[in-house]
Structure formats: structure tokens, C-alpha cells
Symmetry: D2
Subunit: 345 residues, 4 copies
């Protein structure tokens, strides 16, 4: 099938291009960029030199194809409305934020700007296959996911589904690599300011909390969600501190996670008792579509820490979008997403 990427000059766009070039069932048709039209794709994505001769086309030059994937915040589909995009292809996957929240009011509350019409939100499926696999099959409009939301959802999903009660809000600490901020330079991402930073940029109320609450069927008040910038380029690391209403055993937690993710190709349980790599760490996930989840329980059985790690450009956006596209079109979900990750890196 022929797939085009809209807004392909940013980091999510580059990762989509990379994944589609290696996807055995897809053919990369066009890559749009308002600012780089006419230039070789490899000028901004040097890793792809020798793998493609494509040049960026202006957004209005987007032709009909079988699916369009819209990259995220860096380069929204300038001049191309959702209607335009849907007119070009029977399947649109939009990695941006506009389709993530199901209700207009919620969107406006968290983003402070006008939302898509409610009918559009109703038509879109939140594109996390681990949550909505059935709904994705045949879906024409699919939303992307928040990079840290993916990890937090997958860390908390077993508990939420099992209905384990917490005595206070789940404390989410989401640690971000710099690529999550996109490809546009600003002072916060200026290397002398960003290098080795441990910067709490969102002490409370990070927007991804809205997605997590929606996905789990929780109130957003049940989450205390902080965002911290740390020294890495790719990668999201999540810790969630939970105080349980009733004590559990480590075995119960392990079984719960195993049962939840037994058939998931991209979720691995990483929860050893010892060793250097006993809990999830994004270091060895760069380039993959994996999300590692883990946990640690204290001796009382009441304090449960959950962990997740992923590549924000992989399972946190572009990789997940391809997985959702695979689901939507009836392909094997893993197609084109088999990279194992590197260690050390």
C-alpha cells in the first residue's frame, strides 16, 4: 500500500519515513514539508542517505494514496485540514494532539485552544492497539498518542482493569529526552542549557495526564503527573508511585502483569529482583516499538511502584502509529517494527 507522510521534516516525521522505508508491505509515496519543499529528505534526516531519493513536496501537492500519517507538533499539516487529508486517503493517522481527547470540553480545558468538531472526535479511534485493537480494525481516522501517556497507560492498565483501589492520587514522574520537544530550536533546548539538565518543566498537570485518565476511565484528579527533562535525546522513563488500599503480594502483581500482556508483541515485563537492568530503562529501546513495564512492591505489600520505558519517537509516536496502521489495515501488527534496540548505546 502507498503511504504518505505529512509534516515529514521533524523528528516524528523522520522516524515515520524511516519505518515506512523499511516496511515490507508499504511503499512510501510522498513526504510533505512546508519549509523544506524541494529538498532531499536526507538533507534533514542524514541517517537515510542512500535509502531514499525522495524530496519533500509542498503540502498542497499531496496526492491520493492509501494512507496518510501526519507527524506531530513540529509540522502540522499546514494548509491541509483534516477534511483535506481524508479526501486524499481512506486512512488518516494523526500523530498530533487534536484527536487524542474524546470530548471537546476536555480538549479545550487541557489545551486552551479550539478543538475539532465533536463529530470528528467521535469518528477517531485513540490509536493505542493495546487499548483499542478491535476498534482500530478498519478505522478510517486514528489518533496518535502522547509519548509519556503510552508508558503511563501501560504501567497502570493492569491495576485499573483489575480495579485495585489507591488511597491517594497515583504520582507519575515522566522523564523526557530532548527529542520529545521537537526539532525547532529554542532556549530550553539550547545545548548549553539542556545538557545534563534535570529540569522540572511541568511540576503538576502535564497534558498527557488527560489522555491517561481517559484511557483508564479515571478522573484526572486521580493522577498527579509531573514532567522532568533529563539528559537523553530519545527516551521516556516513567515512575508511578501507588499506595494501595489493600495489600498485595509480588506474585499477584507479577501474575496481573503477565496476564494483561501475555499476547502483546510490544510490551515486555522487566521486573527482576536484582541486576543492573532489572527495571525498565529507555537506553536500550531507541529505535524500537517496545514499551518495557515493570514494578516494585515494598514489604508491606501496600506501596507499589510501577515503571515504564519507551522511545518517544518509537512506541511513543511514529512506531505506534505504524502499529496502529498495521492494525487498521489487517496486516500483522508487528510488520516493519521488529528492531530489537541496541545495547550499549
Amino acid at each position: 500500500m502507498r503511504v504518505s507522510v505529512v509534516g515529514g521534516a521533524g523528528y516524528v516525521g523522520g522516524e515515520l519515513v524511516r519505518l515506512l522505508l523499511g516496511h515490507p508491505e508499504c511503499q512510501l509515496a510522498q513526504v510533505t514539508s512546508a519549509s523544506h519543499r524541494g529538498k532531499p529528505v536526507t538533507m534533514v534526516h542524514p541517517n537515510l542517505r542512500g535509502f531514499t531519493d525522495l524530496r519533500f513536496v509542498a503540502p498542497p501537492d499531496l496526492e491520493r494514496c492509501d494512507a496518510v500519517v501526519v507527524a506531530g507538533a513540529d509540522e502540522p499539516g499546514q494548509g491541509l485540514s483534516l477534511d483535506d487529508l481524508r479526501g486524499r486517503a481512506p486512512l488518516v493517522v494523526d500523530c498530533g494532539t487534536r484527536l487524542r481527547l474524546r470530548h471537546q470540553a476536555t480538549f479545550r480545558q487541557w489545551y486552551g485552544t479550539e478543538s475539532e468538531p465533536q463529530s470528528v472526535l467521535d469518528a477517531a479511534v485513540y490509536g493505542l492497539p493495546e487499548l483499542h485493537r478491535a476498534g482500530l480494525a478498519g478505522a478510517p481516522l486514528i489518533s496518535g498518542v502522547g509519548c509519556s501517556a503510552v508508558g503511563t497507560i501501560l504501567a497502570l492498565l493492569p491495576l485499573a482493569r483489575a480495579g485495585w483501589a489507591l488511597t491517594s492520587p497515583a504520582c507519575v514522574e515522566a522523564r523526557f529526552g530532548s527529542s520529545a520537544g521537537g526539532s525547532q530550536p529554542d532556549l530550553g533546548s539550547h545545548h548549553p542549557e539542556r545538557s545534563r539538565a534535570v529540569r522540572v518543566f511541568a511540576p503538576e498537570g502535564h497534558r498527557h495526564a488527560a489522555e491517561v485518565a481517559q484511557a483508564l476511565g479515571w478522573s484526572s484528579e486521580q493522577l498527579s503527573y509531573a514532567g522532568v527533562a533529563v539528559e537523553m535525546v530519545r527516551g521516556i522513563s516513567i515512575s508511578v508511585r501507588c499506595f494501595l488500599a489493600e495489600a498485595v503480594t509480588e506474585r499477584e502483581v507479577r501474575e496481573l502483569f503477565r496476564a494483561t500482556y501475555a499476547d502483546e508483541p510490544f510490551v515486555r515485563l522487566v521486573a527482576q529482583r536484582s541486576g543492573l537492568h532489572r527495571l525498565p530503562d529507555p537506553r536500550w529501546l531507541s529505535g524500537t516499538n517496545l514499551c518495557d513495564v515493570g514494578f516494585s512492591l515494598d514489604r508491606s505489600g501496600l506501596r507499589l511502584s510501577l515503571f515504564a520505558a519507551l522511545d518517544n519517537l518509537g512506541k511513543g509516536s511514529a512506531g505506534n502509529a505504524i502499529q496502529a496502521l498495521n492494525c487498521a489495515t489487517g496486516m500483522d501488527e508487528r510488520t516493519g517494527l521488529t528492531f530489537t534496540g541496541l545495547h550499549p548505546l
Copy 2:
């Protein structure tokens, strides 16, 4: 006054040497090292080249002096008991862990090894001037402090003193630079494994929690204390999530912090509403004896996040030890500790 450093080949030892060489009221007498005896101090501390010609002496060759400062875990005073040290100098400041907890049972519970006699613990003052300034004056035996404990104590102290109640344990996230692990190579600190790591090495129950609980007069159950290794060499960054029983205003929090630290020379309140540097970050604290503290309150007034940042080798150990020594001997507390820190770094 003549001051000697015991165990001076590690990172805390090196920082003590650096600070004492620049201390206008102290003369660095001897630096011991069991493993480097006879070698120039500058062989392991290359920053000090040209600033000292001292060579390491074997621990038994430690001579009488006015004060001894024992560096931490890297090189405990091999062959020199606390009694030996106290026989050499009327003032002993021990940066290690053995004197930090006031009760033998607590020490054994957290460290799993035998403690010093209770009489020795009774004689020692926990060396954090912000807590025990009066007690330090003239004290002959002073304990060092845990690097992340300092930040957590100073972040929570205003609340603890004001008696603000929390509805669940305070969630402490302590992020560590690699120098906090000491100067002995191991797999966890091997560069290919440690670079850019986001490694939760203590999901719950980090030992520094015991010091914090003791300092605040809390039960250690009131804390949930996690340790995470992140990519930096020097520096500790602390976040503490608190759910308050009664709502407060931002102004009240600010006033509380200002009142608590108005006269403290080394505690700065960093809590702006915006800007890149609005909350504490250890990046610009390397080499200083400062601890920056800050906070963020959500709109409900019930969710209060506290922050702290410091240099683990500065205010987190060696710098704080010199400050305590200044207090103990009646010097101006700031003597030799005036470095401002660097930015960018």
C-alpha cells in the same frame, strides 16, 4: 587551625582537600590514603595541580592536629578507629554513615551491620547546621550527612516545622549523579552502562530516608523514598510530592519558606512562576555549598510539590562538613565556602 583529611583519595576526600586549600582560616596538614600512600595528592585530583605539593600518608602516620575530617564511603579510616581519630584531634567530622543515625537499632535496621556504641552515637551531633547550629558550637564529634537527605530535609523542613499534615506519605524522588557512587569502578558506573541511564536503583526505601525521618521527627513510614541514577556527574535533584490535608495558598508557602530560611547563608528559594530556571536544578550548583529549594502548588492548594538541588560533593558532603567545622570552631560559617557556581556548565 591545622586540619587533616582521612581517606583523601576518593571524591569526597578530594573535595575536602580542595576546600581546605582555599580556606583562609585552615591549613591542610595531612591527607591519608591507604592505597595511594606516598603519591602526590594531585595524581588523583588533577584539578589541584600547582595548588599543593602534599603527598598521601598512610593512615597510621596521621599526626596530631586541630581537626580531622573523615571522607566517606570510598576510603573509611582503615586501621583508624573513631577512638584513634579522637585521640589525634579534639574535633572529628566524619562524612561517612556510621554516626548519622542516633540509635543503634535504627542503624542496624537500615544498614544491616553493627553500629558504633550507643555512647558514641550519643556524643555525635548530626552535622547539618540548618538543623543543629547551636549544638554544633564546640561539639567534638560531628556526623556527616547523606547527600540526598540534605536536599529532602531542607525541602520538607518548613512544612514539618509548621506542622502541615499530609494525607499520604511524601513521595521523594532523588536523582543522583554518578559521583555519588564513589570513585571505585564497577559495572553500574561503567561508562557504556551509565551514560544517559535513567536507572531506578532504589524503587523504595533508600537509606537516606532514615536520616530524613530522624531530622524531621517523622516516622520513616511517612516517606516513600526512591533513588534514580541520571546522566550527570555531580548533583542531586529532589522532588517531593505532598498531598496536604488542608489547602494553602502560594503566598503562604512562599512566606513559610522565606521565614524558615531568611538567615540561612546557603539555602536559596528558587520558585519563580516562569522562565527556564524557575525551579532548582543542580546544573549551576557544582562546586558550591548551596542548596536551592523551591515549590509548586496546584490550583486546588492541596497538591504541593517541593524541590531541592545541590552538589552531592558540596552541600551534600564535603562542603557541608566544612560548614559544620566552621560552626563547631566559632568561625564565620561561610568561610571558605563562597564559590557561586558556574553557568552554563
Copy 3:
């Protein structure tokens, strides 16, 4: 074909395992490790969790197979001589140093230890397909390559073949990531010492010079070869400063490189006139088997700088070994080596 890895617990070993698990024509038979026998391979290579259930076997338990690849310095084939290995498999690729130099005397001169018998050296082919593709076909014994030697050889090969004369030794500056030092911790790779280091560890006479000279047919005196450790984990970056005896044009250099590497699947010419990514940088080569080469010529046409970048664990060792194995066994050289690399990273 069934392939086993000897000494698979180090970084080269882990990369060999990763590549063989993804190789469509190979089946990973066994992975030996003297120190980790019985443990899951994924305990030391966390990226491979879920991709293999293999456990390390002791070296003597190595069974017959179709090919053995010996990882490098970290874990030489303890207890297994080259004869033992050749008795187990008709093809042995040894990533270590013992087969790299063709003559015993040269080996002893550069390594200061006893070499393999001359008859063994005579039987081995230096495993760089860009140099010895024909010789590799059907070869039973193949040598690995020095990671920085690969880049330097491929940067200089066009000139050497064209016979362009230099007026002074070629000044090679090879910049190394920390993984090139192997997986054994030591003080030099201790994170607080290695992080952000710019450490000239070999001011002159790095051993890889011997390989380069041999490959180019030069005297080692024609090279001045320095090694510098810089802050990265994977990656080798090479600069070679050449002063030409006769002026050339940029076009001539470009044509020379294009002609030399026109049919090479893993060598890319990266030599743009402007742009952020105009010259080779190892940042976007991690995990690949690519070697990017480039050049810059000054206005006089006499000062030519050559550049190369590669992943020391990819084209610099494990990847190249698989490429050589592909060549030796008649497979398409690119099989299992199609990863494009990531950007940003």
C-alpha cells in the same frame, strides 16, 4: 546455517548475537561465556529480552556448527585455541587482534606478545570486504578488523590506490566512544572520570596504525595515528589531514571517492558544501554496518582532509564480521545488515 558466538558476554559478543538473531539465513546455535555460563543471554544484553531464550554455555561445551564468530578482547575463547575452534566449524571469524597482522614480527612489534604461528597468519584473510572481497569467498579463517582502522582505511584507500603522494605523514585523529574499551570496568571508563572526557590516550602510535599501513601498503611511518576518547558510547570518528604533493580539484577528489565506492553497499560518501550534516558523524550510524566517508579540500588544492565515521560495534567489528561471513559463504553481502541508523539519537 548454524552459527555460534564465542565470548558472547561482551559488547562485540552482544552485537553479534543481536545481528545473528535477525539474520534471515543464520540460526544462532550457541553463545559461550566463561564467566556467565548458565545465565540467560538477555541478563547481560537487555535489549534482546523477548528475542531469545538462549543461555550462555561454557566454552568447552561449544558444539559443531557451520561457523563460529569469536568476539573480541572482552572474552577471548578461553580454553579454546584456534585449532579447537577450527575443529568445531569449517569457518572461523575471529574479531580479536591475533589474526590482523600478516607477519609474526609485525604482530610482536605492535602487541608485544607472542603471535600465532606464521602458518596460521598465512591462512587468515583480513576480513574487510572492501579490501579483500575475492579472497573472502570460501575462506575458512577470517580476521576481524580494528574499529578505527576500518574508518581510516576507507578514508585513505582512494588516495592510496590512486597513488597520490603526500609530503608528510598522514595525521590521523581517531576519536573513540567508550564501548570501544570493552565491557570490563576500570578507572578510565568509570563514569565520573569518563563523562565528557576529551582524553588523548594514545598521542602517537595507536596499534590500529599497523593495520592501516598493511592494508594500504604503506610504511607505518607514513602515518601519525592518535587516539582520543570523547563523550559517546558507540562510535568512531576519524579525521585524516593530508598535505598533497600535487594540487587537486574538489571534483577530482569527489570522482575518486565515487569511483572507488560506487558498488560498495556499506560505504557512503558524505561531503556536502554546507549544512549541519555535511561531513560524517557517528551519531546517526549506531547499529548500522555503514561507514560514511567524506573530505574537504582547501583553496590551494594541496590540503586535503579526509573523514570517516562508523559504529565501532557495527562496521568496526560485529557488523563487519557478519558481512565477511556473508561474503565467505556466498550469501548476499547485505543480508541481515540493513538497519539504517537513527536520527536524532
Copy 4:
């Protein structure tokens, strides 16, 4: 004496402010910034919180004072000509580039823009005390220095003075930390692009070569000067490869360096035969005014590698400017510049 800083919002400006605040003989009068007028100096220089209450003033509001130091490229004295500045203070130290080259033609050749009048260039002293100490005494107009030029000059000066002949151009490799690029964000300094980069941004003909040639009395043709960006924030590391016309002994080189720098307070010879810290590394020089120089000689006695390391914001600009100011005003040259540097960092 009262000293003002012009263009104080950049990195050189911040370092000047820091040094002047700690200078026992200077009082920081004003700090100008065209873009930050009215804001607290500590808003952009967070390390200085609590050390100053100064706010930036607009350049035209600069008042008369005893000396003005102009920070570099980030914020040239907008609206203030050199004449304006000289009208405000009897001593002007300009860290920028406009006074560094002695002849108008040379300036135009290297910078491609119009230079100051020749009379102004004639009046200015190149502000490197190790070169022009006598000339600085009482000088009214002092030029700043190129950060990598300082290291290269101090590495080559002993040879140049001794008249040792080279058989080919000295190959200078200057490795730069990101702060050398200034405080204005751009794509090249965007963290995802800059982190762990090994980017040859100037393969030949870096502008600092002009300063070095001028300082040594060489033709710029005698230098081949490359600039490489590596992963650090502060710091310049220099290697210079020299092929000598006549063989020398290590002892001769050592004596030459010792003799040259015996009385220099800020130049240290770092040239041990072994050990982790045997050659200069900028890691432990951050915040200092030191320049470490070293060398390595091969067995033939003909290949001599020279090394230097410094903090680009210290001895490479702001620190050196204060040293020059000290010289110009008859103060002890070391005043306010006694920081030893930190290790590890």
C-alpha cells in the same frame, strides 16, 4: 575600581559578572543588555542568585566608570561604538573579535567584514598577558582573545620562541564545547542535534588561526587549523601535531616548556608518562583561568604532539580579560582568579 560589563546577558558576559562580583579590588558597576534591560541579572545567570541584585541597563544608560569590559559575539555593544565606550571609561577591554588582528587587511581577509580604523587597531594591545604583559601595563584599549587561539598559542609558543623548525604545517585540532557558540539557539546547538556530536564544523582555516599566526610571528600557511564540536558545554581541547626538522629529546622539550612558563601563574605543564590524567583535559578546568599545556614525543624525537586545555569562558575569554585588566591596572595578576577547578565534574 568600578567596572561595567557591556553585553552581559550572554555566556561571556555572565562569566565576567561572576568574576567581577568575586573580585576583591573591583566593584561591578553596571551590566548592559539591549534585550534584557530592566530584568534582574540573575534571571539569565541563575548561579548568581543571592550574589547580586543588579538589573540589566540599556546600553545607552552606561555611565562613566573606571573600566568597561565588552563581552563577545552574543551581545556586541549595540548602539555603543568603541569611541562611546572609550568616552565612558579610561580602560576598555573588548572580548569580541574586532581588535584581535593588528592589520585591517588581515581582519577583512578572515572576517569578510569591514574592520575598525587602523589607528584603533594600532592603539589596541592583544590581551594575552603571557605574550604582552609589558604592553598591557597602563594600556587603555585591550583586545580579547579567541578561545582556541589561547590554547594553541600557549602550546606552540615555546617552539616558536626557540625557533624549532617544522617540516610541514602544524596540524591543529581544536575541539569545542557548545558554550563557545554563544547563547543564541540555532539548529546546530539544538540539543537533539548537538548532544554527543563529533562534528567537524571547520575542516580547515578556522579564524583563530589568524590570531595564532600573528601571535607566533608565523604565516597562517604554517598552520592547518580544524575545529570540531564535541560533547561538552565548557571547554576547549587542543592537539597540535608537529613534525620537527631536527630530532629533540623529551628532556629538551620538558625544559623548554618549564623555562617558558616558569613564572606564569596560569599555565601548568601537564605531561606525565602514564596515568589517567597525564595530558591536559578541559574537564577539570571549568571556571578557572588556567591553561594546561602538555606534549608527547615519539621515539624518533621528530614527531612532537602538543596539547592544551582550557575553559573557553575562563582563560579563553572572560577570565583572561580580567587577568588583562589586572595587568593593565597594576594589580596582582591573579586577583579574583584563584578558583582551582573541580574534579570530578
